[in-house]
């Protein structure tokens, strides 16, 4: 059996997205900035996509900017906000479990003295405490950036509450909603955010397309200069097909969210229960406040990458936050931040489900993971007498 259980890495392209893209990859190839009719068709596609995405995120059209990826949206929000506020402050508040698109951007800024960053700790479930944010904001704080939902452990932050704290203090708030968009309801206004990043390929759109919600009145400096596209904030001829595909995918995901969540939750529920029965296994992240499709576990005395390889042999695509996948000896910063010791954090496995996964596939995954953990442990020097021996 083949099972794709890595939707948090990327998701299969939705049929509706491909259909929406095809004309702009074939006969409607005009540059949206030209003035003849071939170009107007492309311009209309871009603007109608903007309206659809705005609608799906509770924003108005003029608040949506297209980018090339979720990572670019994060970079634009962070670097753009700091540059726009240069001189008034360079302090940034973020969480310890952000995606590398945010963390590495901030670290690069710190290194060259362009930012001073406070990393808020998280509790054992990965949650940021609103009081910690309240205490961390200073008069020179120029930006708060905290992710909506975590890519490794699926935990969902109370963004509306955190956003309200930042707004009260007059500090712009950005949220990386790349993993959340299309999977849980998002309303940029209700979330009290000023900026919100999304990425098309996480909700059934194409790779290479992203968007940034930027609340009216919030200032950003561009990262990319040129022909003044996207109202001067992101120059470069629009990826028309990608934008059309992203909008079609998000519209589809939002319209069918209830039924898709039900299907995803069924598969994820079977796997969560099944893996929970393995001795010395624990669910990472919050038991309830989590994305419906992400099932994340650590298995003691087992190393994550070897588990992913063993599952691949059984036709299952999964991933691990293990050090070995990144080439360093450090396990995932997220798992360390929730308080797991190094030796246990190395044994992480993330399975992320999508609407096409069936209960039958979920049961197959449970069996395959159970077998993989048992066979890894059998050859592990850290496993003796049916328990971990550190």
């Amino acid at each position: 059996m083949k099972v794709y259980a890595d939707h948090a890495a990327t998701s299969p392209l939705r049929r509706e997205a491909l259909d929406a893209m095809m004309p702009y990859l074939t006969e409607r190839y005009g540059n949206p900035s030209s003035i003849y009719s071939l170009a107007s068709a492309a311009r209309r596609a871009v603007e109608s996509a903007r309206a659809d995405i705005a609608g799906a995120l509770g924003a108005s059209e003029s608040e949506i900017y297209f980018t090339g990826s979720g990572t670019e949206s994060d970079n634009l929000a962070i670097r753009g906000a700091l540059e726009a506020r240069a001189g008034t402050g360079r302090h940034v508040v973020t969480s310890a479990i952000e995606h590398h698109a945010v963390l590495h951007t901030l670290q690069a800024l710190e290194k060259r003295g362009a930012a001073e960053v406070s990393y808020l700790p998280v509790d054992e479930y990965g949650l940021v405490a609103p009081d910690a944010l309240r205490d961390a904001i200073r008069p020179d704080t120029a930006l708060v950036t905290i992710m909506t939902a975590n890519n490794e452990i699926g935990v969902i932050q109370p963004i509306d509450e955190l956003g309200a704290i930042a707004r009260e203090r007059g500090v712009p708030f950005h949220t990386d909603a790349v993993q959340a968009a299309g999977h849980i309801p998002l309303d940029a206004r209700a979330m009290n955010v000023d900026m919100l990043s999304v990425s098309a390929h996480k909700f059934g759109g194409p790779k290479g397309a992203g968007a940034l919600y930027l609340r009216k009145g919030v200032r950003l400096a561009p990262l990319i200069y040129g022909g003044g596209h996207e109202r001067g904030l992101r120059s470069g001829t629009e990826n028309v097909a990608g934008i059309a595909g992203m909008a079609a995918a998000l519209k589809q995901a939002v319209t069918h969210m209830a039924e898709e969540t039900a299907r995803v939750s069924e598969a994820a529920g079977i796997v969560k229960a099944g893996l929970g029965a393995i001795p010395f296994a624990r669910l990472t992240g919050h038991p309830e406040k989590r994305l419906p499709g992400i099932v994340s576990f650590v298995f003691e005395a087992v190393e994550g990458e070897s588990m992913v390889l063993a599952l691949d042999f059984g036709g299952i695509c999964a991933s691990s936050g293990s050090a070995c996948s990144s080439g360093s000896l450090e396990p995932s910063h997220v798992l360390l931040a929730v308080g797991l010791p190094h030796e246990i954090a190395h044994g992480s496995l993330r399975l992320s489900f999508g609407p096409e996964n069936t209960p039958e596939q979920a049961r197959y995954v449970v069996q395959a993971v159970t077998d993989a953990v048992a066979s890894r442990r059998e050859m592990s020097p850290l496993w003796r007498d049916n328990k971990p021996a550190y």
Partner: protein, 141 residues
């Protein structure tokens, strides 16, 4: 990312397990770093390694390097086994990704640690022969 040879040794590891009452055991690595290898050996007449088994906690490359290391030293004399370098391990696997090279070093160290233990058990100082006693912190990074 891995060669077919690495995947073969990962999926069908040779000589997994632990020798009962072994003549030498070496364990290197650290659970904190996500790699531990334990190699046990049986040494027969003429200082020949007649049996060898391994247990490994680690990534695909860690499993494959330990597996092939056991193949490379089985049936060899101790002095030949001491000539098995991490390079030889990598070559036998037809290559490893650069970030996984440390796994081949661990495999070499695990073999040396097992041989050092063999000499220590016999009351012979392993340092002049093996180059170390196989017990220092450098094998436990």
């Amino acid at each position: 990312m891995y060669t077919d040879k690495v995947m073969d040794h990962f999926n069908n590891p040779r000589n997994v397990g632990e020798i009962e009452n072994p003549d030498g055991v070496g364990q290197v690595g650290n659970p904190k770093c996500g790699d531990i290898m334990r190699i046990s050996i049986r040494v027969g007449g003429g200082e020949t390694i007649t049996d060898v088994k391994f247990k490994t906690f680690g990534c695909g490359a860690a499993v494959a390097t330990s597996s092939i290391a056991t193949e490379l030293i089985k049936g060899k004399t101790i002095s030949d086994a001491l000539g098995v370098t991490n390079r030889a391990v990598v070559e036998a696997l037809e290559g490893l990704p650069p970030v996984k090279m440390h796994c081949s070093v661990l495999a070499e160290e695990a073999v040396k640690a097992a041989i050092a233990d063999y000499y220590t058990r016999k009351g012979i100082d392993p340092v002049p022969i093996v180059g170390c006693d196989g017990k220092c912190e450098s094998c436990r990074v």
